[in-house]
């Protein structure tokens, strides 16, 4: 099992938004999905997951509602809003150009003049 990597700041928001773009989910599901998709390379600590979810809600990118789980428990389910979808699009393209730029540097063969 590879050593988990800490997330870059702001990246977690992007991952959460992406996860929720498939449909409403509760916090545990979001965490599991991220871990599974990254082959458990990225470790989403619950210590930062829940504050991040609440902050996204505060900004209006996700909404939440309470549902009864299969075990008749109150569970909080998060859903992406239209604003959130737009934010996801914007952040994804930003992330892509960021990765692109970093990759260019790392692939460079010669020292710039």
């Amino acid at each position: 099992m590879p050593r988990p990597v800490d997330l870059l700041q702001g990246t977690l928001d992007l991952l959460i938004l992406k996860t929720l773009s498939w449909g409403p989910a509760h916090g545990y599901a979001v965490a599991r999905w991220i871990e599974q998709l990254t082959g458990e390379v990225l470790n989403v600590g619950e210590g930062s997951l829940y504050p991040a979810l609440h902050r996204l809600e505060e900004r209006g990118w996700v909404t939440s509602e309470w549902q009864l789980s299969s075990t008749k428990r109150r569970t909080k389910v998060y859903r992406l809003t239209t604003d959130g979808r737009g934010q996801l699009r914007a952040e994804s393209s930003q992330w892509a150009s960021f990765v692109d730029a970093v990759a260019k540097v790392l692939r460079a063969q010669e020292q710039p003049s």
Binding site: G27, A31, Y50
Partner: protein, 887 residues
């Protein structure tokens, strides 16, 4: 289920509980997963918890975020509600502009006028004077307990005794000071070539500024030794004179200026805004002769600073103790004389106190009226909307929502009224300021007081809200069925109608009171204005001048020669009918009196002396003033013999001193002055001020002796007497450019100035009364209109059954008439008792004058019935078919 939970969430949202649930759910799900992977439940739970990490930190962060979010949401929701309410309120007010405008105007008028008058009163009655600890300063005059004379000048001897023997005043130099008025001709200044000008000032004992607690900003105060006769060469000038005449020359101190032809060294300049006694530009040392008699009461007054903790009463008692001692030692001079002590503020503003009290009372009524009117309008509006309220309530609007909506409407009206009221207040203050002749005295600073404005606005706004929500509360509680069935009649129409009727009766009563007060004051002014003065004030220009002893006029002959030349020039000028001069013309404050004694009659017993006005006048003075001769002859140049003085006397003196016997040829004298023979009797005329009766008076001739200070009076043959002023100025300048004219005014202006206070009171109360009448009419109009709209169907039925227009009009108007009559009756009864406070301000009319009350009753009836008649006419035009179908 989800919907239900959402409601649940809405009402019971609790971030702490929510995050606990969320974390618990997380842990349970993780535990379940781990159990599925083969862990025992205990191990799974422990591992889930370990993986989750610091739950407390997570909880803290999320709770903070959630609470922030909730606060923001609440705020947005609240703001949203407000703006929605205000939008709805504005829309509904726009739909009914008559209501909105009347309510706003009433509120604005009430708030503005009341705030202005309350601020002005506060400023005049309460604000401290621009001296240090001014509430410890008192003015001291002399009073005579036997004659009941008050505010008499003081003597140096009495002052010195008070100063040296008191226990109630501040120790040392800051205790008691004496002062008296003076005017000087300032001739040469640091800047050469300036005209001679007359400046006002005062002789002050060296410590006066120490008593007042104000020091010069440039230079220094007087020293004790500079107050000695023959040592007084120093002068302190005002900041005003320093800037105006000397261009704020900082090197002025130490320089010399010429006053009345005598050099004075400027030693100090007082701070800007400093005034004493009233208006003054120069202060010179008092330099009294220390041996002056106690009976020589000729100095304006004394000022004292109370020792800390001493009351005015204690100070008065303290000085009376000294006076008792003086009375014992100087029987002739001090019998029945003692000090009159009053706070300095009272001395300055005392004559404004009564008028202000009346104004405050009047303005209280205006505010009450404005509030009633606003209340009435609110109730009327509520009544006309009873149906709307009932329907909205039926459609599910909560009572809270309805009340809030109506309250918002009231608030919008009240706040608009308040905002407008600030403007009205500023305007009223401007008018009051303009009403003071010759500008505001220094001790009054007029401005709109924020506290007063806030208080008054609060009263009005609370009224608006209170009466705005009464219909809402009633409407939302009302039986919906009844309300809809009754149509526009509303839920508890009878109750509300009764309340509104009562309010209208109150309004009419209040306007009756204000109208009565206004009418009484206006009649007072008219009575004073139309009082035959005994002289003809039209067409006369007047000016004072003083000939300085030290600059060309050392002897009485020099003075006489100057006036002779001046009269000669003026008499021969075109458009001059006649020229005269007197020591004091009427209504300018000059009033020297003495006890008169007729030769051959036993001297009056002490306390029975007849006090008479006396002064020197030139030969043509009375001809110029238009006072006619009753018997004997005028004074003329032949009356120059100082050993055999000739005098004119007034009819009053004939009546009081001669008891109607023939006075011509008899001899009279003032006190122990030389005897003088009566050569003529003149008609009585008012001299000191209205409404005081014409005084008994004796007039000596300037042919025998001419005082240095005289007031010239010139009568124009025709046209504006102002046109004579340039002539007078050039005549004086040609004879002696060093002589300054001052107090240049026409006799009309003098008379107007004397009556400004009465005129102001009449005008202000008149304005209030007009406003009150307008408000009452608006209220009455509203109530009658409402009644008409209520009875439209009834009227329709009556018309259908054959009622004529006259019958209908009587029916509707009868209601209005009953309200008007009740209001007037109540108002007149209230006025009967309230007008007593006016008594001291009235002249020639009694506070309960039946004619005034009659005029008020008739006028108010006429105007009020007109206001009721307009909506009543609408009732006569009711078409029975439409009226009955409308329901």
């Amino acid at each position: 289920m989800t919907r239900w939970l959402r409601y649940f969430e809405f009402f019971r949202r609790d971030p702490r509980r929510d995050i606990d649930d969320e974390i618990r759910a997380h842990l349970e799900l993780r535990q379940a997963d781990l159990v599925a992977q083969g862990f025992t439940p205990e191990v799974a739970r422990a591992r889930a918890q370990r993986e989750f990490g610091d739950a407390a930190a997570v909880r803290e962060t999320t709770v903070r975020v959630d609470e922030r979010m909730m606060r923001r949401e609440h705020r947005a929701e609240w703001w949203d509600t407000i703006t929605r309410d205000v939008r709805v309120a504005l829309r509904s007010l726009r739909a009914n502009p008559g209501f909105a405008v009347s309510a706003i105007v009433c509120a604005a008028a009430g708030i503005g006028i009341t705030a202005a008058i309350v601020s002005a009163s506060y400023s005049v009655l309460m604000r401290s004077l621009p001296y240090r600890d001014s509430d410890r300063l008192v003015a001291i005059y002399a009073e005579n307990t036997q004659h009941d004379w008050h505010g008499v000048n003081v003597s140096w001897g009495d002052f010195a005794s008070w100063r040296d023997n008191n226990r109630a005043f501040q120790d040392g130099a800051a205790g008691v000071a004496i002062w008296t008025w003076t005017t000087n001709t300032l001739t040469s200044a640091a800047t050469a070539g300036d005209d001679a000008e007359r400046i006002y000032g005062a002789y002050v004992s060296w410590n006066l500024f120490r008593v007042l607690g104000v020091s010069p900003i440039i230079g220094r105060n007087f020293l004790p030794e500079e107050d000695a006769p023959g040592r007084n060469h120093e002068i302190i000038i005002s900041h005003r004179l320093w800037t105006r005449r000397f261009g704020s020359d900082s090197a002025l101190v130490g320089k010399t200026l010429q006053l009345d032809g005598r050099p004075w060294t400027v030693i100090g300049v007082m701070p800007p805004g400093f005034n004493f006694p009233d208006r003054g530009d120069a202060w010179e040392p008092f330099a009294a002769d220390p041996n002056e008699s106690h009976g020589n009461r000729q100095y304006a007054g004394a000022i004292g600073r109370l020792a800390p903790g001493v009351s005015v009463e204690q100070a008065r008692a303290d000085l009376h103790r000294i006076d008792a001692d003086l009375e014992a030692r100087f029987r002739d001079e001090n019998l029945n004389w003692r000090a009159e002590v009053m706070p300095l503020r009272d001395d300055l503003v005392g004559n404004l106190r009564d008028p202000l009290k009346v104004l405050l009372a009047a303005v209280g009524l205006v505010l009450l009226l404005a509030c009633i009117n606003v209340a009435n309008l609110m109730l009327a509006r509520g009544a006309s909307r009873a149906r709307e309220i009932a329907i909205r309530s039926a459609l599910g609007a909560s009572r809270e929502r309805l009340v809030r909506q109506l309250m918002t409407e009231s608030l919008v009206v009240a706040l608009a009224g308040g905002a407008l009221g600030v403007g009205v207040a500023a305007l009223v203050i401007r008018l009051v300021r303009a009403a003071f002749p010759g500008g505001l005295p220094f001790y009054i600073t007029l401005g709109v007081d924020r506290a007063a404005l806030a208080m008054v606005a609060a009263i009005t706004i609370v009224t608006a809200i209170l009466f705005g929500i009464i219909p809402a509360i009633r409407g939302s509680r009302a039986d919906l069925n009844a309300s809809l069935r009754d149509g526009a009649r509303g839920g508890s129409g009878v109750d509300k109608a009764r309340l509104r009727n009562a309010l209208v009766v109150g309004e009419i009563a209040l306007s009756a009171v204000l109208l009565t007060a206004a009418l009484l004051l206006m009649r007072t002014y008219r009575n004073l204005h139309e009082t035959p003065l005994g002289f003809t004030e039209q067409g006369i220009a007047t000016a004072q001048l003083t000939l300085p002893r030290n600059a060309g006029y050392p002897t009485a002959t020099d003075v006489q020669r100057f006036y002779a030349r001046l009269f000669e020039r003026l008499r021969n000028a075109p458009n001059v009918a006649s020229v005269g001069a007197a020591q004091g013309i009427p209504f300018t404050g000059w009033d020297v009196q003495g006890d008169v004694h007729v030769e051959g009659e036993a001297p009056a017993p002490p306390g029975q002396e007849l006090s008479t006005h006396f002064q020197y006048v030139s030969a043509d003075y009375f001809k110029t003033m238009g006072v006619s001769l009753v018997s004997g002859r005028w004074l003329d140049a032949s009356d120059a013999d100082t050993l055999n003085l000739h005098v004119l006397i007034t009819q009053q003196l004939v009546a009081k001193a001669f008891h109607g016997a023939e006075p011509l040829g008899k001899r009279v004298r003032i006190g122990r002055d030389p005897w003088a023979t009566v050569v003529g009797v003149i008609q009585d005329y008012h001299h000191y001020r209205l409404p005081e009766p014409p005084p008994p008076a004796i007039f000596y001739s300037t042919a025998a002796y001419t005082p240095r200070q005289m007031t010239i009076a010139i009568r124009a043959k025709s046209g504006d007497p102002h046109d004579l002023v340039p002539l007078l100025r050039s005549a004086v300048r040609e004879i002696d450019p060093q002589v300054a004219l001052f107090q240049v005014q026409t006799m009309d202006e003098v008379v107007m100035r004397m009556l400004w206070r009465q005129r102001l009171m009449g005008n202000v109360l008149g304005t209030f009364a007009a406003l009150a009448l307008a408000m009452a009419c608006v209220g009455l109009y509203g109530v009658v209109s409402y009644a008409v709209s209520q009875r439209t169907r009834e009227i329709g039925v009556r018309v259908a059954l054959g009622a004529t227009r006259g019958t209908v009009l009587r029916l509707v108007l009868g209601h209005g008439t009953r309200l008007v009559m009740a209001g007037i009756a109540a108002g007149l009864v209230a006025a009967y008792f309230a007008m007593r406070i006016l008594q001291t301000l009235l002249y020639g009319v009694h506070a309960t004058d039946p004619m005034t009350f009659g005029i008020v009753a008739l006028g108010l009836t006429a105007v009020a019935l007109l206001a009721a008649a307009i909506p009543s006419r609408r009732a006569t035009r009711v078409d029975p078919i439409i009226a009955m179908r409308a329901e």
